[in-house]
């Protein structure tokens, strides 16, 4: 195995024992990027110059939890002095003057940023095809989409273009691409990780989380990014456990629920089989598995497509061409400048959601849409609360299908269905992980989702780690032809 194929914990050991140097590691990653990036197109911006400088500044002791570890950062996380575009034309040349809290925490821990990754514009989408620049390709099959919106981050990790990455998840944007790309993606509890510096899509749903090669790496990254931040009023003040303590093969007596509503949906048979096979392995390992009811799940997607666009319509209103980013030159007055800037700067999906959200919040429609959606939200929360009173965890597929082909999904509503299993988790604010549980007949990875109660990341990690050890598929990597 090459260095770029290794996990964060493996690289940490090699760096700590001086077996390799940070520069050798960077050499390995940038060489790999040079070889495959032309095909995968995971990055919007590469920051090799800054990465080499960070390497120089690193103290030799490697005391930081991530000292010398090369990571990829989704391009909706604010990075001081480095372009942060959200894969949108409207922010194409925007260079922020400040670091997101998670970015500063990674820096303090000694991590090195390799570059900023591609995404669906403003995180709106499930395929990374909505990027304002170019689509990213799935390393398992370059004809296929890597999922989204954190498609660049997931593809980079799967292709060995980064040891790990940060993504953001509003309705499945970490877990769905992780499933499509055969990597691990964790969406933490809303409020566990500071959102300060995450360019907002839907503020009440957005969460930052790790995308990694295995569960242990996810725990290591979560340890660094979790915790209260005075700059984010919605981040919780609580004692953060050491998540690596939960890396043990033990599900003895754990009560796991399988939501009937999920499994009775019409979705890919291979996905269903693979997930149920994974569940069975956990049962064999001592977990108690039962079918459960999650009646409100049917309404989750509808509520999501009111709440998220409503918040987005407000969050994205600031891109008006006045202060930063793109400004239309075809304008005679301020109003025209606003209109043309936004018309020329935003892509179709973003415009669609801004219009949806604006409509949902308009006077006369607010009660019927936004308020109703908030009531559904409460119902969904209560449903999950009720289940977690009795069960430790819930398991479902992460996605109804494996990776689809680029250009295949033309109907936006069909695309929205890709998030059917992931969205309820964001609505309820609970944590969930996606781990690979198998491959379909096209050799495409299948993701299994484990959901837990608020701040139940520890239990989720424990179950995910156990299954990962049993399945023994975590070292499988996509075969990518390297261009010279």
């Amino acid at each position: 195995m090459e260095l770029y194929d290794l996990t964060i914990h493996e690289l940490k050991d090699k760096l700590a024992s001086r077996e390799i140097s940070v520069n050798e590691l960077l050499d390995s990653f940038y060489k790999r990027i040079g070889g495959v990036e032309e095909k995968v197109k995971a990055y919007v911006t590469l920051t090799e110059k800054e990465a080499r400088e960070s390497a120089k500044e690193l103290k030799a002791e490697f005391k930081g939890k991530l000292a010398g570890i090369p990571l990829a950062i989704k391009d909706n996380l604010s990075t001081e002095g480095i372009k942060t575009t959200c894969s949108s034309r409207i922010l194409e040349n925007y260079v922020p003057p400040y670091d997101a809290t998670v970015v500063s925490r990674l820096k303090e821990a000694g991590a090195i940023t390799l570059g900023k990754t591609n995404m669906d514009e403003f995180a709106m989408g499930s395929s990374t095809e909505n990027s304002g620049f170019f689509p990213t390709r799935n390393p398992w099959d370059l004809e296929r989409a890597p999922g989204g919106s954190s498609g660049g981050s997931a593809a980079a990790v799967a292709a060995g273009e980064a040891a790990g990455a940060l993504g953001s998840d509003t309705g499945g944007s970490i877990r769905q691409p992780a499933a499509f790309c055969g990597v691990v993606g964790l969406k933490p509890t809303y409020g566990l990780v500071s959102r300060y510096g995450l360019v907002a899509f839907a503020s009440s749903l957005d969460q930052i989380g790790p995308i990694t090669k295995d569960v242990e790496d996810a725990a290591i990254l979560l340890n660094v990014i979790a915790g209260h931040d005075p700059m984010d009023s919605t981040s919780v003040k609580m004692e953060i456990p050491d998540y690596t303590r939960f890396l043990k093969e033990d599900v003895q007596g754990m009560k796991i629920g399988l939501p009937r509503e999920y499994f009775s949906m019409d979705f890919a048979a291979e996905v269903k089989e693979s997930v149920l096979a994974g569940v069975q392995r956990l049962e064999e390992a001592g977990a108690k598995v039962e079918e459960v009811n999650l009646p409100s799940a049917d309404y989750a997607l509808a509520a999501y497509y009111i709440i998220a666009p409503a918040e987005a319509s407000s969050n994205l209103a600031r891109y008006d061409g006045v202060r930063y980013g793109y400004r239309s030159k075809k304008a005679h007055d301020v109003k025209e400048m606003f209109t043309n800037t936004r018309n020329e700067g935003f892509g179709d999906e973003v415009k669609r959601r801004i219009m949806l959200g604006t409509y949902a919040l308009s006077s006369g429609y607010y009660d019927a849409f936004y308020l109703k959606a908030q009531k559904v939200r409460t119902m969904i929360k209560e449903d999950f609360d009720r289940l977690f009173y009795e069960y430790d965890l819930l398991i479902s597929p992460t996605t109804p299908t494996t990776a689809f082909k680029i250009g295949e999904m033309t109907d936006p509503l069909e695309m929205y269905q890709a998030d059917i299993f992931t969205v309820p988790v964001n609505i309820a604010g609970i944590p969930a992980i996606s781990i690979p549980c198998g491959f379909d007949s096209n050799n495409l990875p299948i993701g299994l989702q484990i959901m837990g109660p608020h701040f139940g990341e520890g239990k989720i990690i424990q179950a995910a780690y156990t299954l990962e050890q049993i399945l023994e598929i975590k070292d499988r990597r996509p075969e990518l032809e390297v261009s010279v």
Partner: protein, 480 residues
């Protein structure tokens, strides 16, 4: 026969709170700094930034709420008010919509028919916007610049009930409101610097009719006087519209101070849909009784209480107490002086008379004058011990007002000490008697009043420094 109309007025007042930092970030709120120097990623609304509520803003807003007799909500929240404008960096203003911090209060005002309560519907917190600066004159400007220093300065909006029945009542409401807020120290209420802004809703209805007429909203009034004038104009305009058999249109009108009239700005159909919804970046505000009680206990004395105390403690007439407590600074000046000089009525006379005259002439605020209570007390004692006459005292006071110098120093430097030396005065009195034989004759013939003329002559000769009682006595002795 012409219809008699009743005027209905409600006011919306925006007040900048005098906190040191902005409502959602640490930037300074100082007025008049270089453009865009008091900004940061948060108040500029850069992508990814989040607001964090300044607790001091809530404290100040609760103080205002308590002083205006409001209920303080145990649970309130912030909402986003969405609209596009270059001075609004997030394209939404964080405000409070359906759950404001304070509700159901009132202010007591004095009217021609005694005192009256004007209801306060609500007080809510919000952030201020920036300021547009046009290059050159506004009609020929080729570009606009934006100064974001004011962005995020905390505001409270105080909304009254439609309880005012005349423009004069509206002005009195504003006067009382300003006085209370100044007493609290939560705002400097400077209308010129924009720290107090007022919009008015006005309608008329035939006397006896219960339902309200169609209202218009008035904006852009930059002084209390302008509010009163704009309302007077608008009431008259509405009356004329109805007299012509037309209907008043619901619209927003702007007051033009130079033309002395209101001009239509936008109609009802052009009104914004602000698409309010709960601000997801802030957690709801829960205020327990302990928090409110602590603020209540530390509330400073309010104008009405202080007026009552001035009447009872100092034995002042109600009129004096009213004038003196009109501003916190004036009342402070009075009390500082009374502590050093125990004759409240004399102190009151000087402050209400000479002091306020000079303040008005100089066109300054009470706080800007150089007179302190201690200086005034010292001057009054110089009068009592005969060092200066009451006439000279006015000269000394004017000098103190200008320079802030100690009265003793002024008397010394200007040689204003009263002449009470009998020998010295006798000489001058003799001279005056000699020089005015006709007047002396008149006095001897019983025209007693004429003696005043001679006193005046002596005062003139001594440039006011002669002790008038002594001069009077000497003249009478000599002319007898």
């Amino acid at each position: 026969m012409t219809t008699e109309y009743e005027v209905i007025i409600g006011l919306e007042v925006h007040v900048q709170l005098a906190t040191e930092s902005k409502i959602f970030c640490d930037c300074s709120t100082e007025f008049g700094a270089e453009p865009n120097t008091h900004t940061c990623p948060v108040c500029l609304g850069l992508p990814g930034t989040l607001p964090v509520l300044n607790k001091k803003v809530v404290d100040y807003a609760i103080m205002a709420g308590l002083a205006l007799n409001c209920e303080i909500s145990e649970y309130s929240k912030f909402d986003r008010k969405n609209y596009f404008y270059p001075d609004l960096p997030k394209a939404y203003q964080i405000s409070q919509y359906d759950l404001p911090l304070c509700q159901n209060g009132y202010i007591e005002i004095e009217t021609g028919n005694g005192s009256k309560k004007i209801g306060i519907t609500r007080i809510h917190m919000e952030e201020d916007a920036g300021k547009l600066v046009h290059e050159g004159s506004i009609d020929r400007s080729t570009g606009s610049l934006v100064d974001y220093n004011r962005t995020g300065v905390p505001l409270i909006e105080i909304v009254s009930e439609p309880d005012m029945r005349s423009p004069a009542e509206a002005r009195e409401y504003l006067t009382q409101l300003k006085k209370i807020l100044e007493y609290l120290g939560v705002s400097d209420c400077n209308m010129e610097e924009g720290s107090l802004r007022c919009d008015a809703n006005v309608s008329i209805r035939p006397v006896g009719q219960e339902e309200f007429g169609t209202k218009t909203e008035l904006k852009n009034m930059n002084s209390f006087k302008a509010v009163e004038k704009a309302l007077e104009y608008e009431v008259e305009r509405q009356k004329q519209v109805l007299a012509r058999g037309e209907e008043v249109i619901q619209e927003t009108r702007t007051w033009d101070d130079s033309l002395n009239k209101t001009i239509s700005m936008r109609g009802k159909e052009e009104a914004h849909d602000y698409r309010y919804f709960p601000e997801p970046d802030l957690v709801p505000l829960e205020i327990d009784a302990e928090w409110v009680n602590e603020i209540r206990e530390n509330l400073p004395e309010l104008p009405l209480e202080r007026k009552e105390r001035f009447i009872s403690d100092y034995g002042l007439p109600a009129y004096d107490a009213g004038v003196l407590t009109d501003s916190r600074d004036l009342a402070d000046l009075f009390e500082e002086c009374v502590q050093a000089y125990d004759d409240p009525k004399t102190v009151s006379n000087w402050i209400m008379g000479e002091f306020l005259r000079l303040v008005k002439e100089a066109g300054i605020e009470v706080a800007e004058s150089k007179i302190t209570g201690k200086l005034l007390a010292k001057m009054l004692r110089l009068m009592d011990d005969g060092t200066i006459s009451s006439k000279i005292a006015k000269t000394v006071f004017e000098e103190m007002f200008k320079t802030g110098k100690d009265p003793e120093t002024i008397v010394e430097e200007k040689g204003l000490k009263q002449i009470s030396d009998e020998g010295k005065l006798e000489e001058i009195v003799d001279q005056i008697i000699l020089a005015n034989p006709n007047v002396v004759e008149d006095i001897k013939n019983g025209k007693d009043k004429a003696i005043g003329f001679l006193v005046g002559q002596v005062m003139k000769e001594t440039r006011g420094k002669a002790n008038p009682q002594l001069v009077n006595k000497l003249l009478r002795e000599k002319i007898k």
